[in-house]
Every structure is written in structure tokens, then in C-alpha cells.
């Protein structure tokens, strides 16, 4: 297996987990760029032009709430997970574990 193939499959697997990772991170209010860096450090490489629109979409779906913080030198929009978002995260994590168990059974 070449490095390219490995990297491709890993990226494919992680792509579907960005929403879960973002919801998990946003239990404390965070702004877009900081979330991008946190996710990157945790191994969820996601581009800004994917993440920033994604945050808006999740907010529109009622999974996140947002608030402008104008106290810092640079005004930033902070997102945090809503009650619905927290519920979704629980469902996603549950699904994640059941997938893991299913795959173990298949082996």
C-alpha cells in the first residue's frame, strides 16, 4: 500500500467525522479560525472554505448558537453547541460506537 493510498483512505474516513468533531469541540465557545486550528491539531484536517460555511449551516439547522465578541481587538463570531447540537452529538457518538462494534463483529 502506497502512502498516497493510505492518506486517501484516512482522509475519506475522517471527512465524515468533521461535524462530530466540531460539535464535540464547541461545548465551549470558539471562533472559526481557532476551531480550525484545534481540529487540525487533533488530526481533522479541514479547509477554511469548508469549515466556515459548515459552521453557518450547523447554526441554521439550530445545532449551534453564535455570538459576536467585540471585546477583543478583533471582533470575532463565537459558536457554541446548542441543546439540539448536544443531542445530535450524543446520537452521532452512539452511532460511532455501534459502527465500531459492528465492524469488530465482521472481522
Amino acid at each position: 500500500m502506497t502512502d498516497d493510498v493510505l492518506a486517501g483512505h484516512l482522509q475519506e474516513l475522517r471527512r465524515g467525522t468533521v461535524v462530530t468533531a466540531a460539535l464535540a469541540t464547541l461545548h465551549r465557545p470558539t471562533y472559526g479560525y481557532a476551531l480550525l486550528e484545534t481540529l487540525a491539531q487533533a488530526g481533522f484536517a479541514v479547509d477554511g472554505n469548508t469549515l466556515y460555511p459548515l459552521l453557518r449551516r450547523l447554526e441554521k439547522q439550530g445545532l449551534l448558537t453564535s455570538e459576536w465578541n467585540t471585546e477583543d481587538s478583533r471582533p470575532r463570531k463565537f459558536y457554541r453547541v446548542s441543546a439540539d447540537g448536544e443531542a445530535l452529538l450524543q446520537v452521532l457518538l452512539h452511532e460511532w460506537q455501534s459502527l465500531q462494534r459492528s465492524i469488530e463483529k465482521l472481522r
Binding site: 471562533y31 472559526g32 479560525y33 481557532a34 480550525l36 486550528e37 479547509d47 477554511g48 472554505n49 469548508t50 466556515y52 460555511p53 459548515l54 453557518r56 449551516r57 459576536w68 467585540t70 478583533r74 471582533p75 470575532r76 463570531k77
Partner: protein, 332 residues
């Protein structure tokens, strides 16, 4: 949410960031534009700050440039916000698009080209004019078909097509659309025999008219075709007939049509048709002495009409045979 004015923008000098934010947000709904713009501005600023720490050798402008380069095409960013898909024809309807495009191209282009060629030939255009007109027609028809079919499917892609329209375009695949399997491993024997008999008959006729022409006067026979053509053209036609016969055998042995075979069929047919069309268009096929003999008994006989009949037949047979080949090849 309060509206803030950006210092750079108000100073009248549009920075790269300002230009980027405007490019990414100008197509967004009015109520989101400012808010998303502000957020983007902050995100870009944060990225520039980080980059200045990571790479102290960069100037502010260079860091800004690099940050925007990293962020990528603003149109893509905008599409992320609006949810628009950045594709003319997506993978779901692409197979139907290709099916329709091919089917229309392979039926309409030869038909339109043939009609134009026949009309041109009948109205006395020269050989060059006929070929030129046909080629121009083929090009234009193909261009129009490609354009309009693409536009139609692009509309379907954008979700504004009715269900009837989608059904008639075949965007919903069903097993009924599966092509038939080729019948047997060999081609049709009757087709092979018919092809060989027809080609043999043509070859025999060319030789027969030279030695056993029915047009005679005082014991002298007048060949129907100009005997001067034996210096080159008639032997060439006989050689091509043999080549066509060999091709019939190849078709039978391959048993199934392919794009390659259909291409060879079209090309070989053209090579055979071209000398006939060329000679007929130049009024050089018939033997002038035989024409004079015929006109002795039938004053209205016009060699020009006879040549036109040969020309149209040659083109018609070639076109029909080519289309038939392509139809079979594409049905495989």
C-alpha cells in the same frame, strides 16, 4: 449585530482581504452578506497573524497573500455558503447526458449531412462544393446538438426540470435500458453472403460491360464506361471491391461490431465512394462513344442525369452502410 466599518476599506484602498471578502459575499443574500463578510475578515486576519508567527520572514502583505491563497477560490467559498453545486452536469445525470448526446449526434448528423450533400449534388454543385457543404453542415449540426443537449441537462442539473422532462431524458435509470447482448460469437452468415454476392456482382459488372456490352453497332461493342479509365480508375475500383470483400469476411469473423470496426467501415466505404463520386461529378464515367450510340436510339438520354444517379447512389449507399455500422456498434 452592529455594523462596523473596516478602516482599510474606508481609507479608499482596497486590500486583498477586502477584495476577497467582497468576491466571496457579493452573491449571498443581503441579510447574511455583512455578517459573513465580517466573520471572514476576522478569520483571514487570525490566519495572517498565525502565519506571521510561523514564518517571521514574511511581510504583512506576503502573509496576507499566502493566507488568501490557502483559503482558495472565493467562488468556492460562496458556493459553500449558498449550497450551490459547482458543476454543470453532475455524476447523477452524466450517464444519461452521454447517452442522449451520442444517440442524437449519431442519428441527426449523418442524416442532415446526407440531405445537404444530395441537394447540392442535384442542384449542380461541383464535387468540392458538395464535400465542403456537407462538412460545414456536419460541423454546424454537431455544434448545435452538443450545445443544446448540454444546456438542457444543465437545466436539469439545477433542479428546475419537470418530472416529464427528466423521464424523457432518461435520467432515471431502469434495467430496461440495458443494451442487448451480442448474438452468438460470429456475425450473420446471411449478411456475409449477401455482402460478398453484391460486391462480386459489382466487380463482374465492371468487367462484363467492357467485353460484353449490350451497346453495339455493326458488330462493334461500345463499353458503357470510358475505356480510358482502365489506365487507373477501373483497376482501382476492382482492387477496392476486393478490399471490401475482405472486410466483409473480417466483420463476419469478429462477429460483433465495435467503434473501431464502424470507423473502419466508414473509412473504407468513403475510399470506395470517393473515386465513383469524383468521376461521376466530373461526367467522366460513361464512354462518350456509348453515350452517342444510346442517343441515336433515345435522343432524350442525358449522360449528366446518369452521372448524378451514380453519384447519389454511391453517397447514399456509403452513408446508409456507415450509419448501419455505427448503429450496430453503439448497440453493442
Amino acid at each position: 449585530m452592529q455594523t462596523r466599518t473596516n478602516p482599510a476599506a474606508s481609507a479608499g484602498k482596497a486590500t486583498l482581504t477586502e477584495r476577497y471578502v467582497r468576491a466571496a459575499t457579493r452573491r449571498l443574500p443581503e441579510d447574511q452578506r455583512v455578517d459573513i463578510g465580517e466573520e471572514l475578515r476576522a478569520s483571514i486576519g487570525d490566519r495572517v497573524d498565525t502565519m506571521r508567527v510561523e514564518r517571521p520572514d514574511l511581510t504583512d502583505e506576503q502573509a496576507e497573500y499566502a493566507a488568501l491563497e490557502e483559503l482558495g477560490d472565493p467562488d468556492q467559498m460562496a458556493a459553500g455558503y449558498t449550497g450551490n453545486r459547482l458543476q454543470l452536469i453532475g455524476p447523477e445525470i452524466y450517464p444519461a447526458y452521454m447517452r442522449v448526446l451520442k444517440a442524437v449526434l449519431f442519428t441527426a448528423v449523418p442524416a442532415a449531412t446526407l440531405v445537404v450533400a444530395i441537394v447540392d449534388a442535384l442542384t449542380g454543385a461541383s464535387f468540392g462544393e458538395v464535400v465542403g457543404g456537407a462538412a460545414w453542415m456536419a460541423f454546424n449540426v454537431a455544434l448545435h446538438i452538443a450545445f443544446w443537449v448540454t444546456v438542457t441537462f444543465a437545466i436539469v442539473e439545477r433542479g428546475s426540470a419537470t418530472e416529464d422532462m427528466q423521464e424523457s431524458l432518461g435520467t432515471e435509470w431502469t434495467p430496461d435500458r440495458l443494451p442487448d447482448l451480442p448474438h452468438g460469437s460470429r456475425g450473420s452468415l446471411s449478411e456475409l453472403v449477401a455482402g460478398l454476392v453484391w460486391l462480386g456482382f459489382l466487380g463482374a459488372a465492371v468487367i462484363w460491360q467492357q467485353f460484353r456490352s449490350p451497346i453495339q453497332e455493326a458488330g462493334e461493342r461500345f463499353p458503357l464506361l470510358d475505356p480510358h479509365l482502365w489506365s487507373f480508375w477501373l483497376p482501382l475500383i476492382l482492387v477496392l471491391l476486393v478490399a471490401e470483400m475482405a472486410f466483409e469476411v473480417v466483420k463476419y469473423r469478429l462477429g460483433r461490431w465495435s467503434v473501431k470496426l464502424a470507423t473502419a467501415n466508414t473509412v473504407l466505404g468513403a475510399i470506395f465512394a470517393v473515386p465513383l463520386v469524383y468521376l461521376a461529378a466530373d461526367d467522366r464515367l460513361l464512354n462518350p462513344a456509348a453515350v452517342a450510340q444510346i442517343q441515336d436510339g433515345w435522343a432524350a438520354f442525358d449522360p449528366g442525369v446518369a452521372h448524378t444517379v451514380v453519384l447519389v447512389s454511391a453517397l447514399g449507399i456509403w452513408a446508409w452502410d456507415s450509419i448501419d455500422g455505427w448503429r450496430k456498434a453503439l448497440a453493442e
